[in-house]
């Protein structure tokens, strides 16, 4: 276990460094300049470049960059909010994104598990139809279409939930973004759970449990749910990616002050220092979560330790 963990962490760190290098190189390729405001005089531009260290050779810039990143200094925004440290920008927004993402994941997973388990256990025609409908919709419809649909129906027509995020009632106004994001989670988890649960139900030990007269609810929770959960962990990684992507669109739609919205704003105004910094944050987050999932997987399924990392 310890050896595997150490190896896994070392690889993660190496990956992070490679990503830093790639990001730095990309930064050199980015079009446009941080000083797009032509109302600045040339002398001002020169002094700005100096203060940002952009007049140094590339190699020096790279090592400075790595050093800064490791110290948690992500640089400053060039255009969307000039001179504001990006760390400040992210610090304000990260909790919001995290909260909405977390709840989407929880609600989506809970709904998906329930739907998948029920469908697998009761195997009714109607149930199957309902299940197929929900999962197909969840998979086939992009989250921003859900978002506009919810905005239109729940927000505009019925006026149940506020159309926009409001700091005066953060929980209530996050309902629609969470709903819009959790649907695809639900669909993916649902499909996986159903497939796994069907296998488990057919297995000998469940048959035995049934024969020995155990209650259905006990069987579901003790055997089926637990055994179906293991492969669900593997889907989490891909779900995380889709949540990150979804957050970009959803946050833009509902004016949620999160990092997804920050990234879209930065993209559309070519604030590449922010785009790069956020790319780093996203990658780091992704790597950390993958690491955690791997460890988790390794805990629930000891076979993994023997075979190296799961692919």
């Amino acid at each position: 276990m310890g050896r595997y963990l150490r190896k896994r962490i070392l690889i993660s760190i190496a990956i992070l460094f490679v990503i830093l290098l790639v990001l730095f190189l990309l930064m050199q390729l980015m079009p446009g300049s941080p000083f797009n405001d032509a109302k600045l005089s040339e002398e001002q531009v020169a002094s700005l470049k100096e203060s940002y260290g952009l007049d140094q050779p590339v190699i020096v810039q790279f090592f400075r960059y790595i050093g800064k990143m490791l110290r948690g200094d992500l640089g400053v925004s060039y255009s969307i909010s000039p001179n504001t440290p990006i760390t400040t920008l992210i610090a304000n927004r990260f909790p919001v994104t995290l909260r909405i993402g977390f709840f989407s994941l929880i609600i989506g997973t809970a709904a998906g598990l329930t739907l998948g388990l029920i469908t697998a256990f009761f195997r009714g025609r109607v149930m199957k139809l309902i299940f197929n409908f929900f999962t197909l919709i969840g998979i086939a419809v992009p989250s921003y279409l859900f978002a506009i649909f919810f905005s239109w129906v729940l927000g505009y027509k019925w006026n149940v939930f506020p159309l926009l995020y409001d700091f005066r009632s953060p929980a209530f106004s996050s309902v629609m973004p969470i709903l819009a994001m959790s649907l695809s989670v639900m669909a993916v988890i649902g499909q996986f759970t159903k497939a796994e649960a069907e296998d488990v139900i057919k297995s000998d030990y469940v048959l035995l449990a049934k024969c020995s007269g155990m209650k259905s609810s006990t069987i579901i929770i003790k055997y089926i749910l637990r055994n179906s959960l293991i492969p669900v962990i593997t889907v989490m990684a891909s779900l995380l990616v889709s949540l990150l992507t979804g957050s970009l669109v959803i946050e833009k739609m509902f004016s949620v002050p999160g990092i997804g919205g920050l990234l879209t704003t930065a993209i559309s105004s070519n604030d590449y220092s922010v785009v790069i910094a956020l790319s780093f944050v996203y990658s780091a987050l992704y790597i950390v979560v993958m690491l955690i999932l791997d460890i988790l997987y390794c805990v629930v399924d000891p076979r993994v330790r023997l075979g190296g990392k799961p692919s």
Binding site: Q44, L89, F103, M253
Partner: protein
């Protein structure tokens, strides 16, 4: 096993309770606070530091918590605000403002003439990295501003001074007849020296690190906000009981979302853009303000030899059916414009509208496909080519207008091929301000002050791009700076004629802002340039 079951159940309970708490948490919060004004802006402000701002969105936010020497009243007349009165010396080079006594910052400290001095010094100080420097070096030339801003002179040598606590003096290098209009810009607002130094580098990065001298105080702000909240400033000298205790500015990028918010009661005022005009067309709550937000094509006749040909430029000018695009595509916010200065923008000394006759330059600018084809053929034969390929640069956010425009040009001028170059706003702005880095560019901007010269400046270039140097236009422009009254108006007219005859630029559309306003809210008005709304007249009654 029983243990495990129990644990699972309790976990479920906790999660469930958490969810319910979240859903209902502060659930009953009303959509609108009764005594708050809910308004929306299209994008987050890039800064709340008045002295560094360069974009209209930031200006419209800052205006809520800053006041300036002069301001537009709800009738759109220029009136003293923080100033009691002002006088200009005979040579026009010294402007003296007498500041009202008893003015206070939101923290209770008095506002003095030195705060105004410091404000302008901050703009000029290279350390501030202000993008508003051009206002004091080009728009009005404050003594030594150019040298101070490049670090060749110290800030103290700038031509602003405070001989006593209530007198603020600006020394100019050249007379500036429109200076009172210029100082309505937030950049010229006072700035407390003490407060800035006490905040250090964190100045104007949050609600706590900025002082208010306007009707409201910033209450909630974070860099790049999605929502800004302001409360009433009790220390404001001209505070009126207008029923508005706070202002909630919501950042909404999508007009559709904004309209939904307006209709569900989350917004009190909705600014209509684009096609949504159709939905508000016969609404009794609709108000309409002309403003100087203009669209135009700028042709680079310096570097591009095709566009250097006058007939080619004439052909392009006459091949645009502005009316059709304004009516069918833009649908709201803009009307066809066929001269540099829009109407209702500048009033001449004799009291007449400078641009009352919008058809004055019809010969050069009016749509006429046949005439355009004629000029085009002439131009092509002069150049000795059959086809021409040009880059057409525009802001990606204005693709809706630029695309049909490009199509019109290509249809009416056979042999013309336009290479469409949509750019993000910032980059497009860079190109636009460069004055050279394009073949054709679609410009869209708001002048800083209400004087025709504000609309001429882009034709002059800056720094090394000294365009029109030594030309007739340059001469007229320079001369207009040293005279005043009717004589000056005449020179400005001549300058405009030169620009139109030469087709140096092609006016497209003049702005117009439309709003729908909720019952109970009244007194909405915007400044003549259209940069911001005039806050002093706003009222809200709770019915």
């Amino acid at each position: 096993m029983k243990m495990k079951m129990y644990r699972l159940k309790s976990t479920l309970c906790v999660v469930g309770a958490f969810l319910i708490m979240m859903m209902t948490g502060c659930g009953s919060a009303a959509n609108t606070e009764a005594h708050e004004l809910n308004f929306h802006i299209g994008s987050p402000p890039s800064t709340i530091d008045a002295q560094t701002l360069s974009d209209t969105v930031s200006a419209s936010v800052i205006k809520f918590f800053t006041s300036t020497l002069y301001e537009y009243d709800p009738e759109r007349d220029l009136v003293p605000c923080l100033a009691e009165s002002s006088e200009v010396s005979d040579d026009g080079l010294t402007v003296t403002y007498h500041i009202k006594d008893g003015l206070k910052w939101s923290n209770g400290t008095p506002i003095t003439a030195d705060d105004f001095v410091y404000g302008i010094q901050r703009i000029a100080d290279p350390a501030t990295k202000s993008s508003a420097v051009y206002l004091i070096t080009d728009c009005c030339m404050i003594e030594n501003a150019a040298k101070v801003s490049t670090g060749q002179m110290s800030v103290s040598e700038l031509g602003v001074s405070a001989p006593d606590r209530l007198t603020f003096v600006i020394k100019l290098e050249k007379p500036c007849p429109y200076i009172n209009s210029l100082v309505t810009l937030c950049c010229f607002a006072p700035c407390s020296r003490e407060f800035v130094s006490s905040c250090g580098s964190s100045y104007a990065t949050s609600a706590d690190t900025v002082l208010s001298c306007g009707p409201y105080i910033l209450d909630r702000y974070e860099p790049l906000p999605s929502q800004i909240h302001l409360v009433k400033n009790d220390n404001y000298h001209n505070q009126t009981d207008n029923g508005i205790d706070g202002v909630n500015l919501q950042v909404i990028g999508d007009s559709q979302q904004a309209l939904m918010c307006y209709e569900t009661g989350m917004l009190d005022i909705f600014r209509i853009t684009g096609e949504f005009a159709d939905l508000a067309a016969d609404d009794p709550h609709l108000v309409n303000f002309p403003c100087a937000q203009i669209f135009r094509l700028d042709l680079n006749h310096y570097d591009n030899e095709v566009l250097a040909d006058l007939n080619i430029r004439r052909a392009i000018a006459k091949s645009i059916d502005r009316e059709s695009i304004a009516v069918n595509v833009i649908r709201s916010g803009y009307t066809a414009l066929e001269r540099v200065v829009p109407n209702d923008f500048y009033t001449e000394t004799n009291g007449e509208d400078f641009a009352a006759d919008q058809k004055l330059y019809a010969e050069q600018m009016e749509y006429d496909a046949d005439k355009a084809a004629e000029y085009w053929a002439m131009g092509l034969s002069e150049l000795g080519v059959n086809s021409v390929k040009l880059d057409f640069v525009y802001s990606a956010s204005q693709a809706r207008i630029a695309e049909p425009l490009a199509r019109q040009l290509e249809t009416n001028l056979s042999g013309l091929e336009l290479n469409l170059v949509p750019l993000p706003d910032k980059e497009w702005l860079t190109r636009m301000n460069s004055g050279r880095d394009y073949d054709i560019i679609m410009e869209s901007w708001v002048p800083d002050f209400t004087d025709p010269t504000a609309l001429f400046t882009t034709c002059l270039g800056s720094g090394d791009n000294n365009m029109y140097a030594g030309s007739e236009f340059r001469e007229l422009y320079d001369k207009s700076g040293s005279v005043s009254g009717a004589e000056r108006d005449e020179l400005l007219h001549q300058a405009e004629t030169v620009l139109m005859d030469d087709v140096a630029l092609i006016p497209l559309f003049g702005g117009e802002q439309r709003y729908v306003i909720r019952d109970g809210v009244s007194g909405l008005q915007i400044t003549p340039t259209g940069v911001e709304i005039i806050i002093s007249g706003l009222k809200k009654e709770v019915g």
